[in-house]
Amino acid sequence: MALLEVSDLRTSFYTRGGVVRAVDGVSFTLDKGETLGIVGESGSGKSVTCYSLMKLIPEPPGRIESGTAIFDGQDLLRMSARDLRKVRGNRISMIFQDPMTSLNPYLRISTQLIEALRIHRDIDKKAALNKAIAALEEVGIPGASSRVHQYPHEFSGGMRQRVMIAMALITEPDLLIADEPTTALDVTVQAQILDIIKERQERLGTAVILVTHDLGVVAGTCDKVNVMYGGKLMESGTAEQVFYDPIHPYTRSLQKTIPSLQTKGADLYTIPGLPPDVSKPINGCAFYPRCPYPKVAQPEGERPQLVENGDGHCFADCRFCDSSAPIESVLPKHDAGDVDTAQDIREGEGAA
């Protein structure tokens, strides 16, 4: 049985500008010990998906419209606040994007580290503190026994994210949700933080949902990948399937934007245009205006459903573009020297 089974999750925000359908019917499953990557551009709904699972969406303006999230036999979305508190920080933990603001500056690291333990486990302060020190050592913080009594402002960004990891894993949860854990960090620190998450995960057998817009991170760390766009899944499958054999035009375009996969010296590819405005109804396909493939039909009706390719590889079955050709053949050519890049981009946007 899957550890987490999310089906048809819909979360909206009721703002003055209209109803923002941030997550619009997302389904996926996650097994014990597995790592799921959720990738997508800003505003694609990946973070809101995670916050919805923990019911951390501020209500109002947010509202979880429908769906279920069965975690170990219980629906997270229909739990009482009291029962939910017993799950949060105990069986499901979370790491947030910005370690500079995610730790309370008014409380000592020790207080914050042992908080979840003291709430969820029958443990006295002394034992909890010892566990906290051990947890800090495990994430590679030198001098943990003295640093545990310091305040967050005495730690650097990378160190704070290590503290966040230690804090999230101190109760040995079944599921860790990491919402862009490396986005706010230096490039040099990013790899270390991912390594620590990975190492701790393997040791504890924790399942991980890793939200990121860094495709390289996903390819290196995840078993399964969900690609989100405009609040819906566009493609999902194993990391190999999604990266080496992408089907949906959006995933193919995304793959093209990974700098390290391109020929050295070639212009970096960017998808022209902007992500869709999810406060307006989307006709047919959300990616249609930006799709590089030749258009064969006007987009209309419901957005395409995910279909399975036989081996667990799912993709939104789009009928508005002809995506039979490899993506290289439809992308604009950038021959060194002879193309005015700025103009090119403008034309690209004009077409969108």
């Binding site: 508190r85 799950v87 949060r88 920080g89 933990s93 603001t101 309370n104 500056p105 008014y106 000592r108």
Partner: protein, 305 residues
């Protein structure tokens, strides 16, 4: 900590000296004299009076004498009220203002801070809207409207409380309410603002994700930071509130310190003006120091420097 306090006290002393000098020379430069009266005084008598108070000497010399007296805690005689020294006047009226002020302040804190916290926690509900509208009205309503209004309701219509004078414990209630409600309104709004800022921080979300209950989030995670705006305001408010409010003391006929600020200025009572100015400035210096100490205790990112 000890060093911090010592340095700040020495700095405060310098501030007091500067304030003393400015006040002294401003008063000295003001036309007229404390001894001019409506009746004509014979020049030789006037000269005798001036000699008695030291006004026959050049202003520089008077300043030096005045400062050295002040350092010993003597602010001289009142230039207007015969046989009463400035110290007498302060010693007589300051305790009255202190009593009224502490009660008013206690009321302001006891009412304003809880109301502010509740309003922030229940933002955009009637528990927020009602107290915040009332407190806005409380801030806008001057004490000279609030005072008579309370006197009218509780003193004249319901005949529960005395409306003027300073004789027994019941006489302190209406003036303390008038003064306290005004500051309570301020504290409520400042506390609400501070708490809201804390409750919207990312680390509150972190705490929720750990399974921390909402009440623990308020008390343990947000209260310290949320009180900082109110405490910053407390310093100057404290000095003002305990040194007497001229308006409230006049409305309720209370023999406090506030009236002397006005009487001293109107009567050109040079010594009284100086004494009161120094007292008020010293209160501000001490209160601000106390507030700074509390701030460091609350906010770990601040250090004694």
């Amino acid at each position: 900590m000890f060093r911090f306090v010592t340095v700040r006290l020495l700095q405060g002393l310098l501030v007091l000296l500067a304030i003393y000098a400015v006040t002294f020379f401003l008063v000295a430069a003001t036309p007229g004299s404390p001894f001019s009266t409506e009746r004509a005084i014979r020049p030789e008598i006037l000269a005798q009076i001036e000699a008695f108070y030291g006004y026959d000497k050049p202003v520089g010399e008077r300043f030096v004498t005045s400062v050295s007296n002040a350092l010993r805690g003597e602010f001289g005689p009142s230039a207007v009220y015969a046989n009463r020294s400035v110290t007498d006047i302060i010693a007589e009226s300051f305790p009255v203002s202190l009593k009224l002020g502490s009660l008013a302040l206690g009321l302001a804190l006891a009412l304003g801070i809880p109301v502010g916290i509740i309003a922030a926690v229940r933002q955009n509900s009637w528990l927020d809207y009602v107290p915040m509208s009332v407190s806005m009205a409380g801030i806008c309503l001057p004490t000279f409207v609030m005072g008579p209004l309370l006197a009218l309701i509780f003193g004249l219509i319901f005949e529960l409380l005395p409306v003027a004078g300073w004789f027994g414990p019941e006489y302190v209630i209406l003036p303390a309410l008038t003064l306290g409600l005004y500051y309570a309104a301020y504290f409520a709004r400042l506390t609400r603002g501070g708490m809201l800022e804390m409750l919207n921080q990312d680390w509150v979300r972190t705490a929720r994700a750990k399974g921390v209950s909402e009440s623990t989030i308020v008390w343990k995670h947000c209260l310290k930071g949320g009180l900082i705006p109110a405490i910053t305001f407390l310093g100057p408010a404290l000095a003002g509130i305990i040194s007497g409010s001229f308006v409230v003391e006049t409305i309720f006929q209370i023999p406090g310190l506030g009236q002397w600020f006005v009487k001293g200025a109107l009567n050109r009572d040079d010594f009284l003006i100086l004494g009161l100015t120094v007292l008020f400035a010293a209160l501000i210096v001490v209160m601000n120091l106390l507030v700074d100490i509390v701030q460091v205790a609350l906010n770990p990112r601040l250090k004694y420097e």
